[in-house]
Amino acid sequence: MNKLNGIQKTLIALVLATVVIAVIVPLMFFFTNAFSNGREVYDYPKTPILSFTVKVQVSYNEDTGMYIVKYYDRNGELQNAVNTSFGEILSGYFEQYLSVYRTPEELLEQFEITKTEGPQEFTYGKNMWHNFKTFFLITSKAEEALVNSIIVVIFTIIISLTLGSMAGYAFARFRFKGKDQINVFMLIVRMFPMVGISIPLAVILIRFNLFDTMIGLAILYSLPNIALTSWITSSIFVGINRELEEASLVFGANGFQTFIKITLPLALPALAASSMYAFLTAWNDTISALILTNDHPTLALAVYQAIGDNTTNLQYAAAGSIILIIPALIFTFVIRKYVNQMWGGVSV
């Protein structure tokens, strides 16, 4: 092993720094935000570390008969929270701003001691899922949006994989006039921004009664992905030895059986990679969904709108974003197995 020289060390340090600055730090802030309560979100300076508990100081004012509740912020300083004698208000405040779920009676009973013993400190466990619950509560049609997103993703994958892989097979296996030109044209489709296509497409979809439907949205998302799928799959189909298909034909299969049982499984990595692209396009898009839907938003659009509507409660939007990320992460990791397995392992 050669020792790294100065330049290499510097480069590695730069790369690491970039990773930390560009990926890890924003991710950590994002995560802490998503799990912060309504008060922690506005801490400054912000600590990018999750907290699981809330510490409050409660004192009793005998003149007004009210409990004075103060909480410790992340820097350990006391901040004013609420002054009240009503259990309901206490409980409501704790739930909404501190993500602490306690019944009014429970709180009043606990605070009783401050009447005799003076100011006391209490530590409560945060309900970590408060933001997620609230996101679905305050965002109109959040559940529907989640279902919509799943539907549109499935449609997009089906449309772009069926058409794209068939085109890819044709490009790989057959010779026909204008093949190269069509190949380039398909690339050009990818060059158009989807927003540019969505406006004229909106008109077409209205004509066909497909406006504000998931199938209409899926058609839009499929446009660039059909081209991409055909590119990815054709390169894999080219690599599949023709004799593998011919053997299947000789040994009793017809053309369709051969495609299903031999060609398709061998092209699985390409299909997996393509479906990943299709998934991400459909799952993450907001702007086209904004144009092409009216009453039936997708999840990405719902989160986008949640951010717009809740400028004072950013933690809910962050929670929504986490909800948006998780399926994409799961899908990518499931698919990744196939992509790696085939592209690295099996030679076809």
């Binding site: 030895n241 593998l244 040994f251 299969a253």
Partner: protein, 368 residues
């Protein structure tokens, strides 16, 4: 009655392209092991692909058991094939590979198990059944391909250069196994190769092809010793046949073949054959082992030259000698022969073949 018959078979790949296979006529008997031999691009692979149905034919007919199969898809022709690349499906285990044709034929599960195991036993891969092809060596994959081919109990086995991707040792042992399997199954086999030693050792009959035409069909012995054309004589045999361009001269004693280097006195039988060529040139071909080296000059001496190089081959030596117009190679058992020494060469037992210079075909005795 021929089992498989090719009638005026034509193949061209593009509408106006050249014929790759030209008016091929061939009859193959049941149980025969037929080898297509020829240089690359001679149409041998195309021919068996047409028989299998993977390639459309451009003209003529293919008959199996007297019935035309031209309009049938590959799966209905009762053929099975071993491919050059083995074509073992990498996403299935060996067992699934072998069972695939049976599954498609809707054979019952119990029968599949027994037939797969029988085929695997025949191909000697019982212990590999649950592995994936990527975990197998080239030779083992080849065996899987063989097992898959025999499990369907085909009427005709087609083998498209099945041994060309194996190393030399494995190739030799695999080819005797293939021959064994062929004999134990009593199937009809067609084997394509460009390796003449493979062809010689496997074939009942060899079909030698060149540029889409059949040059000669015959037993391995025939195509070696009784060549129909200059191409066959030069293609078969290592080292190849020595050719001499000689003029046919007539003198008092009969016919004499002469060139710058050689002279050959023609006997009565050969004289009958060569009499139409008096005054013309013919091509004379003599196998290296049919040239005999002697130390003394006599009446039979065909040519006199120096042994320029000697290549020892163990049991025999190859003597290489440069003549005025060509290089000859002589296979001899005179192991003590020194390089650069003067040698007198004669033709053993009149084993010379004569070819027409224009048609490049063998000159045969005309039937009266």
């Amino acid at each position: 009655m021929a089992f498989l018959e090719l009638v005026d078979l034509d193949k061209r790949y593009t509408q106006k392209g050249n014929l790759i296979v030209k008016h091929m006529n061939l009859s193959i008997h049941k149980g025969e092991f037929l080898v297509f031999l020829g240089p690359s691009g001679c149409g041998k692979t195309t021919t068996i692909r047409m028989i299998s149905g993977l390639e459309e034919i451009s003209g003529g007919d293919i008959l199996i058991n007297g019935k035309s199969v031209v309009s049938l898809p590959p799966k209905d022709r009762g053929v099975s094939m071993i491919f050059q690349s083995y074509a073992v499906w990498p996403h299935m285990t060996v067992r699934e590979n072998i069972a695939y044709p049976l599954r498609l034929q809707k054979v019952s599960k119990k029968d599949i198990v027994t037939r797969v195991e029988k085929a695997a036993a025949a191909a000697n891969i019982m212990e590999l059944l649950d592995r994936y092809p990527t975990q197998l060596s080239g030779g083992q994959r080849q065996r899987v391909a063989v097992a898959r081919a025999i499990v369907v109990e085909p009427q005709i086995f087609l083998m498209d250069e099945p041994l060309s991707n194996l190393d030399a040792m494995l190739r030799v042992s695999m080819r005797s196994e293939l021959k064994n399997i062929h004999e134990s199954l009593g199937a009809t086999s067609i084997f394509v190769t460009h390796d003449q030693s493979e062809a010689m050792s496997l074939a009942d009959r060899i079909v030698i092809m060149k540029d889409g035409l059949i040059e000669q069909i015959g037993t391995p012995k025939d195509v070696y010793f009784d060549c129909e054309s200059i191409f066959v004589a030069s293609f078969i045999g290592v080292p190849p046949t020595n050719f001499f361009h000689v003029s046919v001269l007539k003198d008092d004693a009969g016919l004499l073949l002469k060139s710058q280097d050689v002279s050959y006195r023609v006997d009565a039988l050969e004289e009958k054959m060569l009499s139409p060529y008096v005054g013309k040139e013919v091509v004379m071909g003599v196998r290296p082992e049919n040239l005999e080296i002697s130390d003394t000059f006599d009446d039979n001496t065909f040519l006199t030259t120096h042994a320029d190089f000697i290549e020892p081959q163990g049991s025999h030596i190859i003597v290489i000698s440069k003549l005025e117009s060509s290089v000859i190679k002589i296979s001899s058992s005179k192991l003590e022969l020194q390089a650069k020494s003067l040698i007198h060469v004669s033709v053993k037992d009149r084993k010379a073949m004569f070819f027409d210079k224009d048609t490049e075909k063998r000159i045969r005795l005309q039937e009266e």
